[in-house]
């Protein structure tokens, strides 16, 4: 019966020769992970003596039929709730290797435990119920395997007994999951029809699946490769600590990739200081001779005394990582509270930790959903791409260059809240200065809104020169002020005279102009004012950036007055100058204005009065929750 552990297997008392491969079993809740693990342990003869009998006795005592999954559900709490809540690790041997099976929970609530388990794995088995097919957690786990960097995935379609071992049903599921995984860059090594409960396809190809020609689960596990150390990549030695226990000054850390030996010329990043490795220290014997390769925890001394600290990365001159204050990353989020733009977080990358700010969020989706709807924040168990501005520079690589120094985790309140892959390390040129300490306002937002009768907002008027933006802005300012509110006008041209006086009209300068306007406006909005921005802002991308900065406070109004009307008004004489060739880079003549597609309001000032248009803007602000509707009318009706 025992196919894979022949009794003649030779002992390896030194424990050094057999490769160890760690495999995680993932998939939707109740698709049979624990059952498969229990069955695998039985089939490989790996159960401790008496364990099966003990659990059968427990089941009998509780009046429940025995389930294979009981083998894993060792915790009282689990048995009570009937679901695996944490990662369990079970070891067994196949013909060629030692296998550590990591059983990860399928319940969405315990995704953090699934990630904890899967992050340790060399390969994964994704399990799917033949009756239920691909479910949200199946897709989510598939996506997370990609984000965790698990490349070897075998798929098992379980409970084939429930679909009468239908080859057609199997093919249907196999096609769907293969498409999904391949779209993520993960090609499944096998898709296997099984019944974990009855044993079909686990260690044996039974007659009931005679139509299937691929490997069994055990054969597929045997084909998964153990992780290889990253010796072939450039040297990365993140510094854990500097020890001065005696007269030696030892720089300690683990070589994440590449190799080093005494005499190597190294660079310490992010500062870029150069030194030579004098010796590799060890215990009991020291110094240690020969090259030290990826995976080893080492201690080195340098040929000179320079400032080096925990979090620095030692690399070879010429192949060093980038130093950066700006990182773009694809992350998964585990915290109850969604990650939002502007959030203050702690980033850990290698041994470096630094405070950071989320500058932008894009492509935030629930990886479990089929048709993904992008959101502006990353909710719990969702994924997304973020731009992070770091308070301190650090050394990092894109994950495609180095998987170890190309990944980071995010901590909130001292607890790991998410993690992900570094997509690029130079997303922005500007960075937040090291020594800024934002001081919070003494007032609470609700104190201000109680007085002003409105929340803070950024009302962004965009449109051609002469479309009536400034006129509407001024009318709105007067209206809100008359109602006791606190509007502030930010006119694009006015700001160009001062704050933005260094900027011209190149695409790059326009982008920066908009960014500054948005930053000033959102600052006002955060302090309860309604910032009214009147700016041509012709680039859709720039306005999207402004919306990203101002986030939920942003209200865009497209002043859609026809171009010929605008030119005939020409309040500043710009059209005339441009026609005469005296004004370059002027928006309005030609097709360089990109109208909004999703503005909160569109107003054509050629067909209505200023008062009428202002009424409409005010109605929009009431409807979208900025301006509080008047209670006076209610009082009058009593």
């Amino acid at each position: 019966m025992n196919m894979i552990v022949p009794p003649a297997i030779s002992a390896t008392p030194n424990g050094t020769t057999r490769p160890q491969v760690r495999i995680v079993i993932v998939g939707h809740v109740d698709h049979g992970k624990s059952t498969l693990v229990g069955r695998l342990l039985h089939e490989t003869g790996s159960l401790p003596e008496g364990k099966l009998e003990m659990l059968q006795a427990v089941s009998a005592r509780r009046g429940m039929p025995f389930e294979w999954s009981f083998l894993l559900d060792a915790l009282q709490t689990e048995r009570d709730q009937g679901i695996t809540i944490d990662t369990t690790q079970i070891r067994f041997r196949t013909r060629s290797r030692d296998v550590v099976l990591i059983d990860a929970p399928g319940h969405a609530e315990f995704l953090r435990n699934m990630i904890t388990g899967a992050s340790q794995a060399d390969g994964a088995v994704l399990i799917i119920d033949a009756l239920e097919g691909v479910r949200d957690q199946t897709r989510r786990h598939g996506y997370l395997l990609h984000l965790l960097g698990v490349k070897q995935v075998a798929v098992v379609v379980n409970k084939m007994d429930r679909v009468d071992f239908s080859a057609a049903r199997f093919k249907e599921i196999s096609n769907e999951i293969s498409r999904h995984l391949i779209s993520l860059g993960v090609t499944p090594s096998a898709v296997i029809p099984i019944s974990a409960r009855d044993g079909d396809g686990v260690a044996e190809r039974t007659p009931r699946i005679q139509w299937y020609g691929g490997p069994t689960v055990v054969e597929a596990l045997d084909a998964l490769e153990p992780a290889r150390p990253l010796e072939q990549l450039a040297l990365r030695l993140p510094v854990q600590a500097i020890y001065k226990f005696d007269d030696r000054r030892i720089v300690a850390g683990r070589i994440e990739s590449g190799s080093l030996s005494a005499g190597d010329e190294i660079v310490i990043m992010p500062a870029g200081k150069i030194a030579k490795i004098r010796s590799v220290e060890g215990w009991p014997a020291t110094p240690v001779k020969g090259r030290q390769t990826a995976g080893r925890s080492v201690g080195v001394t340098l040929d000179r005394e320079l400032f080096i600290e925990r979090g620095d990365v030692i690399a070879h001159v010429g192949t060093s990582p980038r130093d950066t204050r700006r990182i773009r990353a694809r992350i998964f989020w585990l915290h109850d509270k969604a990650l939002t733009t502007g959030a203050s977080i702690l980033v850990r990358l290698g041994t470096r930790e630094t405070r950071a700010t989320v500058v932008a969020i894009e492509k935030a989706v629930d990886p479990g959903e089929l048709s993904s709807v992008e959101t502006k924040s990353i909710a719990r168990n969702h994924v997304g791409e973020i731009d992070i501005s770091l308070a301190h520079p650090l050394a990092a690589d894109p994950y495609t260059d180095n998987p170890r120094t190309g990944r980071l985790v995010i901590e909130v309140n001292g607890r790991i809240a998410g993690g992900g892959l570094v997509l690029s390390v130079d997303a922005g040129q500007r960075a937040i200065p090291v020594d800024i300490v934002p001081v919070e306002s003494a007032l609470r937002p609700d104190e201000r809104s109680a007085r002003y009768r409105h929340s803070g907002a950024v009302v962004w008027l965009t449109g051609l020169p002469g479309s009536g933006k400034s006129t509407l802005a001024r009318a709105l300012e007067r209206r809100l002020f008359s109602n006791g509110g606190s509007p502030v006008l930010l006119d694009g041209d006015t700001l160009r005279a001062g704050l933005n006086g260094d900027l011209g009209f190149s695409a790059q300068d326009r982008t920066e102009n908009i960014r500054r306007l948005a930053e000033v406006a959102v600052h006002l909005a955060r302090n309860g004012h309604v910032a009214i921005v009147a700016a041509v802002s012709p680039s859709r991308e720039d306005r999207t950036a402004a919306r990203r900065i101002a986030d939920t406070a942003f209200r865009e109004i497209y002043v859609a007055t026809p171009a010929e009307v605008c030119e005939s008004r020409d309040p500043k004489g710009h059209y005339a100058k441009a026609r005469a060739g005296a004004l370059h880079g002027f928006t309005g003549i030609g097709n360089d204005y990109q109208p909004p597609t999703d503005s909160e309001l569109t107003i054509d000032t050629s067909t209505r009065s200023v008062a009428d248009a202002t009424d409409e803007i005010e109605r929009m602000l009431v409807k979208s929750g900025i301006v509080f509707s008047e209670l006076v009318d209610l009082a009058a009706n009593i």
């Binding site: 070891r91 904890t116 020890y243 030892i250 020969g290 995976g295 080893r296 010429g318 041994t351």
Partner: protein, 301 residues
């Protein structure tokens, strides 16, 4: 005096940008010729050293729990490797007063020989322990109470413990850095995520962390490493009159197993064929199905 050298760094880096590929290939070619390949034990050792150094860097007041058994002896050995010979934090022995005499002899000898900062704390009497626990578990729970007293006395924020995932199902669910409540309890339902060797190391005030540097080792790994590194052991682990101890605890609640293994080599061969669980000689594991779990939730190792 080295400022000059560093000023040249920028120049070297710029120059290097244009020749990025060549040096990397050079280095990897060198590695193939000179580097001794890492084996399974090397990999385990490197990971444990990494964990020790993370704990030492991120916590303020650490102690290593020295139970005198094979696992904690390997742990001390690894700590000496991590810190180049000397363990830079106290070794804490929470003493039930009921250990085997061979264990006390071992402690007295190697505490000195390994230059440990040894702290011995005794456990409160049995009468003070929850009487609803089964007898062996109740006896073992004295250790939990002794541990709590030691924590209060010294204010440790991190305790390094030599538990392993393969020992027992509940230990398999442990994190490497495992937060404990202010009462020392383990909330298995709300463990933080832990991945990519990034550890949660910020216990709330009054609480502490358990750090498990050999969580990923197996019983066979421990013996293979003990043999390779020539780490001293208590002779009770070796067979005498057809019996030996696989696991050492209090004298009254630990039983030997049938065995003829008289040296480590033979222990490894025995382990390769056995299906008897390691802790089968520990009475407290077998009294009721949840006794051990209850102990662990309350703060037992």
């Amino acid at each position: 005096m080295h400022l000059l050298d560093n000023d040249q760094a920028g120049y070297l880096l710029r120059r290097a940008d244009t020749t990025e590929e060549a040096p990397a290939q050079q280095i990897s070619a060198d590695a193939r010729f000179h580097a001794p390949a890492m084996d399974h034990l090397d990999a385990l050792e490197a990971q444990s050293i990494y964990i020790f150094r993370e704990a030492f860097a991120r916590l303020k007041k650490l102690a290593l729990l020295w139970s005198l058994g094979k696992d904690s002896n390997v742990m001390i050995w690894l700590a000496r490797k991590a810190f180049f010979g000397r363990v830079p934090f106290p070794a804490l022995h929470v003493d039930t007063g009921k250990k085997f005499s061979e264990m006390y002899a071992f402690r007295d000898r190697y505490g000195k020989e390994w230059e440990l900062d040894l702290k011995i704390e005794s456990c409160p009497p049995l009468e003070t322990i929850d009487p609803s626990l089964p007898p062996a578990a109740r006896s073992a729970a004295r250790k939990t109470e002794g541990l709590k007293l030691a924590l209060a006395k010294y204010g440790f924020d991190g305790l390094i413990a030599g538990i392993r995932r393969d020992e027992e199902a509940t230990r398999a669910k442990e994190r490497v850095f495992s937060p404990r409540g202010t009462e020392g309890g383990w909330d298995v339902r709300d463990q933080p995520p832990e991945f990519w060797d990034q550890f949660n190391a910020s216990p709330p005030p009054g609480a502490h962390l358990r750090i498990h540097p050999i969580l990923h080792w197996t019983e066979a790994d421990i013996w293979a490493y003990t043999q390779r590194e020539n780490i001293p052991i208590i002779p009770l682990y070796l067979a005498r009159d057809g019996r030996r101890y696989r696991s050492l605890g209090d004298q009254d609640i630990t039983n030997p197993v049938a065995s003829t293994a008289s040296n480590i080599e033979e222990i490894l061969i025995e382990l390769d064929g056995t299906k008897v669980p390691e802790r089968s000689g520990r009475a407290l594991d077998h009294e009721t199905e949840d006794a051990f779990e209850r102990l662990r939730v309350a703060g037992y190792l």
